[in-house]
C-alpha cells in the first residue's frame, strides 16, 4: 500500500508538472502507445525530449489491447504513435484504418524498403531474426534450414513455443509465402511431430531446455539469447554458454526476420512532432542505442553492432516484404491449428 501510495503521488506530480509546462506555453507531450517494454526505450525517449524539447508519454500494453483501444477512441484519440514488436500487428492496425500514411525522406532513405510499409503506414526500427538455437554437443550440422527440422532424424529433438504466439505465427506466415499453404501446413505438422514436448513457456524456456538436454534444437528469436546472456541469474548465463545460434536458410531465402516498428496514429494531434520522433528512432544515435538494451539488430544498414550480436556472425535475412506477415496472419493461425501445433 505504501508503495502504491508513493507511486500514486509520483504520478500526480508528473501530471501537475506536465500541466505547468503547458501553461508556460511549452510543447504538449507526444503520446506513444507501445507494446515494447524495455527500459532502454524510456532512455531513448528522454534523449529525444532533451534534444527537441518535446516531452513523451508512453502507454504500455499488449498490442491487441492497444489496437482495441485505438479502435474505441476513434477520431478522439490523443495517441500520436503506435509501436509494436511485430510487423503483422502493424499491418493489421493499418488495415483497420488506425494509422496514417506519412512520407518522410529521412525515413525512406535510412530504412530498407522491405522493413517499412510501402505506403508509409509504418516503419521498422529494430530487427529480430527467428533462428535455431542448438546444442553444439549433440548437433553436428553447421547449417540448417527450417525445412530440415521436419525430417525423421529430428524426431523428439525440436522445441518451439505455442502457435498462439505472434512470433510462431509470423514464421508460419513466411513459410506460407515461401511454399504455399499446403506445404506450409505439412511443415507445421511435421514440426509438431518432432517436438520433444508440447509447446509451453516462452523462447527463454526453450533455450534453457535445450541447454538442459531436453531437446537439441529450439526455434527462438535472437534477442532472447542476448537477454539470457545479460540476465542476473546464473542459470540463464549457464544456459547460454551451452548453446549455439544457427541462422537458418543461409543457402536459400535467408532467415525469417521481423521488425519492431511504429506508425503515426490517424487523428494524431501532433503529426509533425510524431514524425520527428519516428525520424529520431531511425537516427544513428537511436539505432546504435537500441541493440544494447534489447539485444535486437538495428534496422539501418551499416550501424555498428554491440560485441555480443557481432559475435553471432553476419547472416542473410529473408527479403520477404514484412507487410506480407500481416496479410497472411489469419491463414497461418488456421493452418497451425489444423496441423495440431498447440
Amino acid at each position: 500500500m505504501y508503495l502504491a501510495g508513493v507511486m500514486h503521488i509520483k504520478h500526480l506530480l508528473s501530471l501537475i508538472s506536465v500541466s505547468c509546462v503547458s501553461l508556460l506555453g511549452a510543447k504538449e507531450p507526444l503520446l506513444v502507445y507501445s507494446h515494447r517494454h524495455y527500459e532502454s526505450d524510456t532512455a531513448l525517449f528522454d534523449q529525444f525530449t532533451k534534444e527537441t524539447g518535446i516531452p513523451v508519454e508512453v502507454v504500455k500494453a499488449k498490442a491487441n489491447a492497444l489496437i482495441e483501444r485505438l479502435k474505441a477512441e476513434g477520431d478522439k484519440t490523443k495517441a500520436d504513435i503506435f509501436i509494436t514488436a511485430d510487423a503483422g500487428r502493424l499491418g493489421l492496425a493499418a488495415d483497420m484504418g488506425l494509422l496514417e500514411a506519412v512520407k518522410s525522406p529521412v525515413l525512406e532513405q535510412r530504412i530498407p524498403a522491405q522493413y517499412r510499409d510501402p505506403k508509409g503506414f509504418w516503419y521498422g526500427f529494430t530487427l529480430r531474426a527467428r533462428v535455431l538455437v542448438v546444442s553444439p554437443e549433440r548437433v553436428q550440422e553447421s547449417s540448417l534450414d527450417y525445412e530440415d527440422l521436419v525430417k525423421p532424424e529430428w524426431k523428439g529433438r525440436v522445441l518451439s513455443r505455442s502457435s498462439s504466439n505472434i512470433y510462431s505465427q509470423s514464421l508460419m506466415a513466411s513459410m506460407i509465402a515461401a511454399h504455399g499453404a499446403e506445404d506450409a501446413r505439412a511443415w507445421a505438422e511435421g514440426l509438431k511431430n518432432n517436438f520433444a514436448r508440447p509447446p509451453q513457456g516462452n523462447d527463454r524456456d526453450q533455450i534453457r531446455a535445450v541447454a538442459a538436454g531436453l531437446a537439441d534444437v529450439a526455434v527462438v528469436n535472437t534477442y532472447y539469447v542476448g537477454l539470457l546472456h545479460d540476465s542476473p541469474e546464473k542459470r540463464d548465463t549457464d544456459a547460454v554458454s551451452k548453446v549455439k545460434i544457427i541462422f537458418p536458410n543461409q543457402d536459400n531465402r535467408g532467415s525469417h526476420v521481423n521488425v519492431s516498428g511504429g506508425g503515426v496514429v490517424k487523428g494524431s494531434p501532433q503529426k509533425e512532432d510524431a514524425i520527428k520522433l519516428l525520424e529520431f528512432l531511425a537516427s544513428e544515435e537511436a539505432q546504435k542505442s537500441f541493440p544494447n538494451g534489447s539485444r535486437e539488430f538495428p534496422v539501418v544498414p551499416g550501424t555498428p553492432l554491440p560485441e555480443l550480436q557481432a559475435s553471432w556472425g553476419d547472416f542473410k535475412s529473408d527479403d520477404l516484404p514484412l507487410s506480407k506477415l500481416g496479410e497472411l496472419n489469419a491463414e497461418a493461425v488456421k493452418l497451425m491449428n489444423e496441423a495440431g501445433w498447440q
Partner: protein, 511 residues
C-alpha cells in the same frame, strides 16, 4: 426497490447476452470445432476431475483430524488451513513452473534408458500432475472448511451407535461420518470446480489449453469474437450443470443439519501413529498450497529487488489500487443496499432475482468479461473503467452480498424492523441501526472484495483500459515474458494483502 431490481437486471443482462450470443457463432467456428475444440473440452474436463480428486484427498483427512481429535498445535493448524486461499492459482503456477524444469535431467535419463515414448509419458504426467496438485492445494480450503464444520456438528451418538454395533473406526468413518458430510463435500467441490474453470494463468503457463485459454486464443489469436462468445456460453452451461448438481445434494443437507442441536462432544486425544497422520494430512496442503510458494516468492523478491523496483517506474499500479479500493467499496455498498431492500420487501420473486444476480461468482471471469463486452462494446465502452467496474461488480457481487446478508440476519435480528415500527424511515434505520451493527462485517467484506479484485486475472486482462495494470496482470505479464523472478514481488504483495484480508475476516467472524 426499483433500484435493486434494476441493479439485478444490470447484473443478469451480460450473462444472458452470452447465451443469446452463443447462437451466432463466428466465421471461424467451423475451424475451431474441427481443430481445437475437442482439446479445450478434454483438457478442462480432465483438469476438473484430477483437481477434484486431489483436493478431496488433501481436504478430507485434515478436516477429519482437526474436527474430531485433540492434539498439540491443533488451534494453530485450524487457523492456518485457511492460508492457501491467499495464493491465486497462477501465482502458485509461477512458483511451481520450476519443478518440471528442475526435473529435466531426470526426464533426459528416462529418455536415454527407456526410450522416447516413456519420456513423453513421464513429461506429460509430471507437468499435468504438478498443475493438478498445485491447483488442488490452493483450492483445498474450499472443501476443508465446509467438511470440518460438517464433521463438528455431526451427532456423536450416531458414531457411538455404529461403534456399539461393532464397527471399526475406519468403518464408522466411511459408513456414517462421510455419508453425513456429503452435502458439505459437494458444496466445497462445486466451488473448487468453478475456480478451476475460472483459472487462466496456471493452465496457460503449464501448456494445457483449457476452455478459458481457448476463449482468449479464439478472441485474440483468431480474431473471432463471436466464436469466443460461443465457447464462453458453453463454459457457462458447464457451470450451471455443476451448480445444479450441488443444489441437488444441498437439498438434503438441510434435512440432516436441522436434526442436530446437541453440543459437540469432547474430542479424544491423538497419539502415536495417528498423530503422525494428522500432522501429515494438514502439512501437505499447507506446504504445497502456502508455505513453499510464499517462501519462494520472498526469496525471489529479495534476489530480484532491482527488477522489481524497475516495474514500479512508469507503470500506474497506484491507480489500480485506488480503483480496486473504490470498486470494492462501491460493490459492498450496492450489495448492502440490495440485501437491505430485500429485508424490507420479503418477496419471493425479489429473492429469486437476487439469487440469479449473485450467480456471477460462479461464472468464470472470462465469461463475465465476454458478457460485459457484448453489452458495453457497442456503446464504445470496451476496455474502459466502466467496463472493468461492471465486470468486478458482476463477479464479486455475491462475495460481498452473502456475508452481509448473513451478518444482517445474525446481528440485527428484528432490531431494524423495530426501528421502522418506531417511525424511522428505512434509510434512517439503515444508517442508525443496521449499518452500525454490522460495521465490522462491512469493513471485512470491503477488504475481501478489494483483495479479490487485486487477484482477479482473466477479467482484468480482457476489460482493463490499456495502461491499467493490476498486481495480477503485472505478475502474469512479467511471468509470461519469462521474467519469473521479477514477477515474484507483485505476487508477494498480493499474497500478503490476501493474508491480511483473511485474518481480518476470521477475526470478524469469530467475534
Amino acid at each position: 426497490m426499483i433500484a435493486t431490481v434494476s441493479l439485478c437486471l444490470l447484473l443478469i443482462i451480460p450473462l444472458v447476452s452470452v447465451f443469446v450470443g452463443m447462437g451466432k457463432g463466428g466465421e471461424m467456428w467451423q475451424h475451431v470445432a474441427e481443430t481445437v475444440l475437442f482439446q479445450y473440452v478434454w483438457n478442462s474436463l480432465w483438469l476438473l476431475l484430477s483437481v477434484s480428486v486431489f483436493s478431496v484427498a488433501m481436504a478430507l483427512p485434515s478436516a477429519w483430524f482437526l474436527s474430531r481429535y485433540r492434539f498439540p498445535g491443533k488451534t494453530l493448524l485450524q487457523g492456518m488451513m485457511l492460508l492457501p486461499l491467499a495464493i491465486p492459482g497462477y501465482v502458485a503456477a509461477i512458483v511451481y513452473l520450476r519443478l518440471p524444469e528442475m526435473a529435466i535431467p531426470l526426464l533426459v535419463k528416462i529418455r536415454t534408458t527407456f526410450g522416447f515414448e516413456a519420456y513423453q509419458l513421464a513429461e506429460a504426467l509430471l507437468r499435468q500432475g504438478t498443475l493438478s496438485l498445485l491447483l488442488a492445494a490452493v483450492l483445498s480450503p474450499y472443501i476443508h472448511f465446509p467438511l470440518r464444520t460438517a464433521f463438528q456438528v455431526q451427532r456423536r451418538q450416531l458414531l457411538e451407535a455404529a461403534q456399539l454395533l461393532g464397527r471399526s473406526p475406519r468403518s464408522q468413518f466411511f459408513t456414517v461420518a462421510l455419508p453425513l458430510a456429503r452435502p458439505a463435500l459437494m458444496a466445497g467441490l462445486a466451488l473448487v470446480c468453478m475456480e478451476v474453470l475460472n483459472e487462466y494463468g496456471a493452465p496457460h503457463f503449464f501448456g494445457v489449453p483449457t476452455l478459458t485459454v481457448g476463449v482468449f486464443r479464439t478472441w485474440f489469436g483468431l480474431g473471432d469474437s463471436a466464436s469466443a462468445v460461443r465457447l464462453a456460453g458453453g463454459m457457462m452451461l458447464l457451470v450451471l450443470m455443476l451448480l445444479g448438481a450441488e443444489r441437488f445434494t444441498r437439498g438434503r443437507a438441510r434435512f440432516v443439519e436441522a436434526q442436530d442441536s446437541s453440543a459437540p462432544a469432547e474430542c479424544p486425544p491423538l497419539k502415536g501413529r495417528g498423530l503422525f497422520w494428522a500432522y501429515l494430512s494438514c502439512g501437505v496442503p499447507l506446504l504445497i498450497g502456502f508455505w513453499i510458494p510464499i517462501l519462494v516468492l520472498i526469496h525471489w523478491s529479495i534476489i530480484s529487488w532491482d527488477a522489481a523496483s524497475a516495474w514500479g517506474r512508469g507503470s500506474r499500479i497506484g491507480e489500480s489500487f485506488l480503483i480496486a479500493g473504490l470498486s470494492a467499496l462501491a460493490i459492498t455498498l450496492l450489495a448492502l443496499l440490495a440485501h437491505y431492500s430485500r429485508r424490507l420487501h420479503p418477496l419471493r420473486w425479489l429473492k429469486g432475482l437476487l439469487e440469479i444476480a449473485q450467480l456471477g461468482y460462479a461464472v468464470p471471469g472470462v465469461v463475465v468479461a465476454v458478457g460485459v463486452l457484448l453489452l458495453l462494446g457497442p456503446l464504445g465502452f470496451s476496455g474502459s473503467l466502466v467496463a472493468i467496474g461492471l465486470g468486478y461488480l458482476l463477479r464479486f457481487f455475491a462475495v460481498a452480498g452473502r456475508p452481509l446478508q448473513a451478518a444482517m440476519l445474525r446481528v440485527c435480528g428484528s432490531m431494524d424492523e423495530a426501528s421502522r415500527l418506531l417511525g424511522r424511515s428505512p434509510l434512517q434505520s439503515l444508517t442508525r441501526i443496521t449499518f452500525p451493527l454490522i460495521r465490522g462485517s462491512f469493513v471485512a467484506v470491503v477488504l475481501l472484495v478489494f483483495v479479490d479484485i487485486l487477484k482477479e486475472l482473466p477479467l482484468s486482462m480482457l476489460l482493463r483500459p490499456a495502461q491499467f495494470e493490476t498486481l495480477a496482470t503485472l505478475s502474469f505479464g512479467l511471468a509470461s515474458e519469462g521474467r519469473i523472478q521479477a514477477a515474484a514481488f507483485p505476487s508477494l504483495l498480493m499474497v500478503l494483502l490476501a493474508v491480511l484480508a483473511l485474518v481480518v475476516m476470521n477475526r470478524v467472524k469469530s467475534t
